[in-house]
């Protein structure tokens, strides 16, 4: 299951970020590392980006970027 599928308002724990390109590295650098808890705060209209809360701040990432973030069961 990926971060893209997490319901709005719920919190999930990051298991892994797939891929080894710049985008995946940036996701890790922004703090989406394995073991961190992420709350999906909301989403922009028309299938826009997700709003996440982690490590005490808010981050927005696009859906296809969220799909790279695997969630621990």
């Amino acid at each position: 299951m990926s971060l893209e599928q997490v319901a709005i308002g719920s919190t999930a724990c990051v298991a892994d970020v797939s891929g080894s390109d710049a985008t995946s590295l940036r996701l890790l650098e922004m703090g989406l590392t394995p073991g961190v808890n992420v709350r999906v705060v909301g989403t922009a209209p028309l299938g826009g980006p997700l709003e996440l809360e982690l490590r005490g701040y808010r981050l927005s990432i696009r859906r296809h970027e969220a799909a790279r973030v695997a969630i621990a069961k």
Binding site: D21, L25, G48, E51, R58
Partner: protein, 707 residues
């Protein structure tokens, strides 16, 4: 003696300038975007001594110079970056400067790592990378007052011990901690460097199946968590701060969208409508000045130069100031309260399909009022590729200067018939169509450019959404002042120059004999036409009337003015380009008007009025507009009775003006914002080609459909 030139000593009494031989100390400001880095820059160095581009890239270079306790310090503001593993040209610049690899930029002696105290965990990521560079480093905790409000306390001394570098709390707008930061910079360069230990231990603990870069990132966060444990305490205040409650409303699905729509509407109407009275005031002021000059100077070349060249040019510059100031006031407030990122977040989906990003929304929306403030607002886009792409397509949005052209031509040449339902009129539909032509073309151009010359690895849209904070008024006002000033100073002089050149081209060469001959020939043409037309015919009245005005003083002066323009360099160029504009259904007079409207497209109506012997009337006013429409309706191709202005021609003119780059000010501002003359040339070329093709297709298809 251990004293600095002004006799003061450093806090520990050691000499501050030792070994520096009096040369300024180079200090680089490094930090994540949105951390108050620019505010700290202003607090330390005041107004920048130099704003330019780094060599070879369109990334802004900002330098400042100040003196602290007698030591001269040169401050480099690095582009905001999240990591020293660069993923974009601006981040690469930050890395290159820090490593001393950028030619012409001195290697920094010291790094000030700007870290947002409200978001220390993420900000320390870059800090730990910066510390491993081995340069003397000071960590400045900005937004400390906001952190206090949120109940976040940071043990700066303990953090400093763990990081092995000074950590200074600052509140830049209130100048709290600025002196302490200055002292820390000077003292850190004296003390021996000791790199903080810890990354290696965490690196060993990371699962080996990850890529090396990923392992490093994971290890750094593990290290940061350890660094911060016991250093940061969060005690949520008893009552939730107002800022957080505002945040809740702004992120709410329904309220958030409503607030966004209202904000954008307010911003757009303020630059479209609120700026109008101010702009009218400026125009009236310029008219008054012109009148004054007309009264003071005798008729002749000097008066013409001052009134039609210089004053018209200056007026054409100053008139943009209300819109620029208005838009930047809005943008600076939105930026100051952290809402600009949220707007980008909400609009991202709409724009990422065509290769742009959410941050392009406000610049493009503003361009419907005027491309100049719109292009300037693209400064808020950090990613240079998105910024350039936005700047290149912004002039395609139909600005308010195109509206009078559309309105006049729609009203005069598009039949006022209902389309489907009685309230939907064809002229209104055509008007809306012109806006659509611009938007669709901009989308296509953005799409094509982003897949061709701007192709590159996809830029991650990983953007921080800063929480609500109150805008700092001095920062907001400085932003407005800077925008207006840079426009007046840099763009203004060039725009006035262009205006004077076009004035000269449309005035010279001037030969009274040729003008007299032209007026006489025109009188003869009208007389012949009148004789050939049946009495009571609509054209007959128009021709008779025009002939009659030639006998009045004003009418003769207007006709002579028209003749002078037709025989000027510009008029000759108009005839020269006739083969080029004929496929668009235009005669050489229209070609001439299009050339003359290069400084600003709204000039085209005034130019047409002069060419058609109406003199200096105002086609924007009802009376002037009606007179111009009547003259245009009666206009025929030279030597024939064939009408120039038909529906396909009117449409072809409108499409041309929707797509063309007939606005010298926009081109000058593009040059100034991209700091390169390549981009205005590219913009002018692609827009003119598209405008020609669009007008050609419109005229040819229109003529074919009309049989």
């Amino acid at each position: 003696m251990s004293a600095t030139p002004d006799g003061t000593a450093s806090p520990d009494g050691s000499p501050l300038t030792a070994g520096r031989a009096g040369r300024p100390v180079v200090v680089a400001l490094l930090g994540n975007p949105n951390t108050g880095k620019s505010t700290l820059f202003s607090a330390l160095a005041g107004i920048p001594t130099r704003i330019g581009n780094y060599p070879g890239v369109t990334v802004e270079e900002k330098l400042g110079r100040y003196t602290h306790r007698g030591q001269s310090i040169e401050l480099i503001d690095l582009p905001g970056t999240y990591s020293l593993v660069a993923k974009s040209p601006d981040e690469q610049v930050a890395v290159d400067v820090l490593r001393g690899r950028l030619e012409g930029v001195p290697m920094p002696d010291c790094v000030v790592m700007v870290a947002d105290a409200t978001n220390l965990e993420r900000n320390l990521y870059l800090a730990t990378q910066a510390l491993s560079l081995g340069l003397p480093t000071v960590v400045a905790l900005t937004l400390s007052d906001v952190a206090d409000e949120k109940g976040i306390t940071i043990d700066a001394a303990e953090l400093g011990r763990r990081l092995a570098c000074p950590v200074v709390r600052v509140v830049a707008p209130a100048r709290i901690g600025i002196d302490a930061l200055g002292d820390a910079i000077l003292s850190v360069m004296q003390s021996p460097r000791q790199a903080p230990q810890g990354l290696d231990a965490h690196l060993a603990a990371v699962d080996a199946r990850h890529e090396p870069a990923a392992r490093e990132a994971i290890a750094r966060y593990a290290w940061i968590e350890q660094l911060l444990s016991g250093v940061v305490h969060r005690q949520p205040p008893a009552t939730r701060p107002l800022g957080e409650r505002i945040d809740d409303a702004l992120t709410h699905r329904l309220w958030g969208t409503l607030v966004f729509a209202t904000t954008m509407l307010a911003m757009f109407s303020s630059i479209f409508w609120l700026a109008t009275p101010l702009m009218d005031g400026i125009s009236a002021g310029m008219d008054f000045l012109s009148g004054l000059v007309r009264g003071l100077l005798p008729e002749g070349a000097i008066r013409s130069l001052v009134v039609d060249g210089v004053l018209a040019g200056v007026g054409g510059v100053v008139v943009f100031v209300p819109q620029i100031a208005m838009l930047f006031l809005f943008v600076a407030i939105l930026e100051g309260c952290g809402y600009l990122s949220r707007a980008a977040f909400l609009m991202d989906r709409l724009l990422c399909g065509v290769g742009l990003g959410g941050k392009s929304f406000i610049p493009l929306l503003s361009s419907f009022a005027c491309a100049i403030p719109g292009i300037m607002a693209a400064r808020t886009i950090e990613n240079p590729r998105d910024r350039l792409l936005t700047i290149l397509v912004a002039p395609l949005m139909s600005c308010s200067a195109r509206l009078p052209v559309y309105l006049l031509l729609c009203g005069a040449f598009v039949p006022n018939v209902a389309v489907g339902v009685s309230w939907l009129r064809l002229p209104a539909l055509v008007l809306a169509g012109m806006y659509a032509v611009g938007v669709v073309t901009a989308e296509l151009v953005a799409l094509v450019l982003s897949r061709t010359i701007f192709r590159g690895p996809p830029q991650p849209f990983v953007m921080e959404l800063p929480g609500w904070r109150w805008p700092r008024w001095p920062v907001v006002l400085e932003r407005v002042r800077e925008a207006v000033w840079s426009f007046l100073q840099n763009a203004g002089t060039l725009i006035v120059t262009v205006s004077i050149v076009v004035w000269a081209l449309s005035t010279y060469p001037r030969n009274e004999r040729i003008i007299d001959a032209d007026v006489a020939a025109h009188r003869a043409v009208l007389t012949t036409r009148l004789a050939g037309l049946p009495a009571g015919d609509l054209d007959q009245t128009d021709v008779a009337e025009e002939l009659a005005t030639l006998d009045t003083d004003d009418g003769l002066a207007a006709a002579r003015r028209g003749a002078a323009q037709r025989h000027s360099a510009l008029g000759r160029m108009g005839r020269l380009v006739e083969p080029l504009v004929k496929p668009l259904g235009w005669d050489w007079r229209l070609g001439c008007a299009a050339l003359a409207s290069f400084p600003a497209r709204e000039v085209v109506l005034g130019t047409l009025a002069v060419i058609y012997n109406l003199g200096d009337i105002d086609p924007g006013e009802e009376e002037g507009g009606t007179a111009l429409v009547r003259r245009l309706r009666a206009a025929t191709w030279d030597g024939t009775n064939r009408k120039v202005f038909t529906l396909p021609v009117a449409l072809s003119i409108m499409v041309f003006f929707a797509l063309c780059a007939q606005c010298a000010s926009t081109l000058v501002v593009i040059g100034r914002e991209t700091k390169s003359w390549l981009w205005p040339v590219v913009t002018f070329t692609y827009m003119t080609v598209l405008a020609w093709l669009g007008a050609f297709a419109t005229y040819q298809i229109g003529t074919w459909l009309g049989g």
